[in-house]
Symmetry: none
Subunit: 210 residues, 4 copies
């Protein structure tokens, strides 16, 4: 876990936003430098290269996410279903709040260009799948969940549905008659709907015997 100083964090934050908005290749180091109010050379100076900067963006973020998930899933005070539901809500909250970062993450998974980043992402995903598998086993032992559950597909439904809702958010604004809502209101409404929707799906996945 690398420690970044204040200026580095400032650069990371700006990069995260710009990479998300325009994509890695379409974001020039000049763009970043200007927006962050620093000299172009400082990016090479602090991070070595634009690519390494991107990796730093991931390191800075993934670590935090990982810790939060671990903490939740190991919380012994929660019942299996409560854990799953909390997991859903925290995920929705996190993705909505860090849309920028998740945009980059998807983008990186799309292009397969930086192996270091892919590795980091993979580790996060696999680790999470492992942790959730354990919750499910626990729920199965206690008789709450049905026998056969495909953890990966379940996770993909969670991540995919949330993500798809975000990227197509604007497309459906008219369709759902939400033109009059402020951006914030619309997002809040979306969060609630998503929460209910996915919990329903998870319940179906975890309990209904096919």
């Amino acid at each position: 876990m690398i420690d970044f100083n204040e200026k580095q964090l400032q650069i990371i934050e700006t990069s995260e936003r710009l990479f998300a908005q325009k994509g890695f290749d379409a974001t020039s180091v000049r763009d970043i430098a200007e927006e962050a109010g620093i000299n172009v050379a400082m990016i090479s100076y602090y991070f070595g290269s634009k690519e390494k900067l991107m990796e730093a963006v991931f390191e800075a973020k993934i670590g935090k996410v990982q810790m939060r998930v671990e903490a939740l899933l190991k919380d012994e005070s929660l019942l299996p279903f409560e854990k799953m539901y909390t997991l859903i809500d925290e995920h929705i909250e996190r993705v909505m709040h860090s849309q920028h970062f998740y945009r980059i993450m998807i983008s990186e998974q799309l292009t397969n260009k930086n192996p270091a980043i892919l590795q980091t992402v993979k580790q996060l995903k696999v680790r999470n799948a492992e942790l959730i598998s354990e919750i499910i086993k626990e729920g199965q032992q206690k008789g709450f969940f049905k026998k056969k559950v495909d953890v990966v597909l379940m996770l993909n439904t969670l991540l995919g549905t949330v993500w798809q809702s975000i990227i197509s958010k604007e497309h459906y604004r008219e369709f759902t008659n939400s033109q009059l809502l402020s951006n914030e209101e619309y997002e809040n409404q979306l969060k609630k709907k998503l929460s209910t929707h996915i919990k329903t799906l998870f319940k179906a996945i975890l309990t209904n015997e096919a």
Copy 2:
């Protein structure tokens, strides 16, 4: 619906693949020209610019998709549930087969850079949502589906789950003990699993009274 000549289609096809593999910005017109075996200048000559070429890629593809969906949903020989299930299977099949194109589409939705393309995508999405709404109404009238169904969320679950499964395909290969399968076998297995999984979800969405 624009008519493209053979050379143009050749360029579109190559572009689709390269844009998908490396991203729009990271793909140079020289790359495309070389792979397509044509002169660099021909891209500007036929399409006006690299951006316009991208738009052509979308026009060429979206049209086909749209027609297939319309045909399916208007097929009067199918029951509502059958339509939904066919919709799922065709979507899975289509996305798996045209991963390249869907990668670009997601990428474009991520970066919001080309309004013309966004508009095209939005039209497709909204039109599809409308069509599916009608199926659902039909199913509700016939008593197959429950009263309140959120079409958009349902669609997002379909699209999101399929998509998430594709982009994280490799990450979970070890986790699901599928290392020994060939790529094709792995994809076929995934298709089947996805089909069952999403049908279960749709059934839950369309029938279970919360």
Copy 3:
């Protein structure tokens, strides 16, 4: 043997001069482009890179030199001593006339940076040593030359003396009371002196029994 078009030759010529005057690293592609009256991008366009341009400079020159030497040494109408003397005079003439190029060549041998160039130079040198060895053998068989002659040292004396005379030319101008001569006159005087001097040395090397 690569064929260079007119524009390429123009770039090569300018580069040869600038690389010689300022050194490879101190010469920017902008310098070259400005002096050659071409666009900076044309250097990459025609040669691929600054390094490759340098290699082209060598290819363009070394070939010519090689051919001249081969022709001379294979000339059957000349006696061994005549060949050696002609070799000396032609070398002096060539180096004086192409000082720019020889500056670069020395510089490259100094820094050992571009293996492709070193290889080209080495081939030239070794080939020349071989050819001259044959002349000497011929001279020995005919009884003109003494038995043991070190070809490499002899060549090094020729090349070294000529070269050293050129690079320290200005240093000794006062010392030799040649301030009043024009540059051309001074160089002509130097050529004559060098010719006599080196012929004396060669005669000593080739005939005097130690």
Copy 4:
């Protein structure tokens, strides 16, 4: 004669090596700082600039060389021929031992960029020519040497032959069947050969009446 403190000498020594290996322009102050184990800023701090550092390298070296030559040539216990032969051997030894420095010196003479350095070099050369002229006069008066001797050409043969032998050392390694020798052995062999060779040449220059 400037006094350099220990840290300065350390920087000078490292610079000498790096400038020789990679050339002045291709050597960055960061390279030097890293290899010398000092802070980058210290180079500007101690020497003012990279150029001034180069001048310091020359000042530190030229002084030593000058003193050695003066001492030898003024040694009254040696006969003229002995002096010349010792001069040759010491020069060979010196150049072989300080190849780094001589590489830089040649390089500087090639590029003519730093007038201060050129001046220093010129002074050394002219002074040496003057001293040697005196030896020759002495030898002529004593009847050992012939009347007309071109000191400059003679010096150029000494310097040029030695130098050419060094820079083309590797090129001829195969040609002289010396692949099996260690680097050290090869250099020792070369030194001996050079010594004999140049002494022969000098003898011819100094005695043979044309």
